[in-house]
């Protein structure tokens, strides 16, 4: 039934994809704020108003690109992780972090779109949540495996964070120790601090050997979570 459900439906899918492709091209070339519906339409040989049959607004188009970007960085991290799936937790952690950094350097504007300042007044719809969680799930998985195999030393946790930590465990950290859940969330945010500072130019004239610096920094993040040196 879905094989050939009319030339119209097929054309719609193709045009939608073409719009996203061209929009992604412009995004990569000039950045989100220069992404123009009219320019996309022009490049595709259609008139601007026709584009509204596919995306009800510029924000909706951006949302589609955001989801794709989350999926793209998530997949890059998953692929890099799969390549060292048999290695120790520390090695896997570093592989995921370096994959995120590599993807960010290769797709700076898409990175800025998802981890930079949110478009003003724009609230990400629920649809973006699952793809956004892919990298985080990888990191959680690494910690969980380490925990199961005994290669995890619990970091300290102050008393006033116990309730919060328990909630995190119940919500998404599964069978991880609460202190590890808290440390993971912090390390996750700190990882993006490192990537963002490099990408947004804050390391200019401060860090030169960015590759080795990053590797060292994320290694220390892993140690902070409790992953032991393998």
């Amino acid at each position: 039934m879905s094989t050939t459900q009319g030339a119209r439906a097929r054309a719609r899918i193709e045009v939608t994809a073409a719009i996203k492709d061209e929009a992604r091209r412009q995004l990569a070339a000039e950045g989100a704020s220069k992404l123009s519906l009219r320019a996309v339409a022009r490049e595709l040989g259609m008139v601007s108003s026709a584009l509204y049959r596919y995306f009800p607004s510029r924000d909706e188009l951006l949302t589609a690109l955001i989801i794709d970007a989350y999926d793209s960085v998530g997949e890059a991290a998953e692929v890099a992780h799969a390549e060292v799936a048999d290695a120790g937790p520390l090695r896997r952690w570093i592989a995921v972090c370096e994959a995120v950094r590599g993807w960010a350097l290769a797709h700076p504007h898409e990175y800025a779109l998802i981890y930079g300042s949110p478009v003003p007044g724009y609230v990400a719809p629920e649809t973006t949540v699952p793809p956004a969680a892919r990298v985080a799930l990888l990191l959680i998985g690494i910690a969980r495996d380490a925990h199961r195999s005994g290669a995890l030393t619990e970091p300290p946790l102050p008393a006033d964070l116990h309730p919060e930590a328990e909630r995190m465990v119940a919500d998404f950290a599964g069978d991880l120790p609460p202190a590890v859940a808290v440390a993971l969330v912090a390390a996750w945010a700190e990882l993006y601090g490192l990537v963002s500072f490099e990408l947004f130019g804050q390391f200019r004239q401060v860090v030169e050997e960015r590759e080795v610096f990053f590797r060292h920094a994320v290694r220390r993040l892993a140690l902070g979570v409790g992953l032991v040196d393998a």
Copy 2:
């Protein structure tokens, strides 16, 4: 001579300030991308073209706001630090970090302007460097004081980062141990990762008790730099 160097010069200073004030108002209200020269001029009762006598372009106006924002967060951090100047390094570190977070929560759009995605194609001019360094200098100063008083344990530093670390020390870290300089830079970036994730909504449904979580996280950052528990 500079007391009354003509009504014209004084008027120019006042008008320039009024433009920046109104622009900051709009920035705080709607965000950088909605800041409009025409709207600023309208609000000030002038015509849009007149504004170009004071700022040659929208980007230049934004740059002025960026510098002010760096100074604003820098001063907030310095004030908070001065209030606990006699305390131990850890306490001072936490005070600075919490001041940054507090400022960011109070001025989200200005924070996004300086630490979010850079305006596409926009490269910050050299003028922005000194104000941007104020917070970093505070953190360096805390580490230096701790080092002098012996309250600093050197973190580990892999061999391949030694040259980079030496360069950092020569460039801006003064008499700090190289390993501390590297750890400081990383902690600095990680601090902004924590603040950005909270501000840009990545902690939604993940971290609820953001205040205590943040305090704990930056405390661990300080420990990672080598500041010892006082």
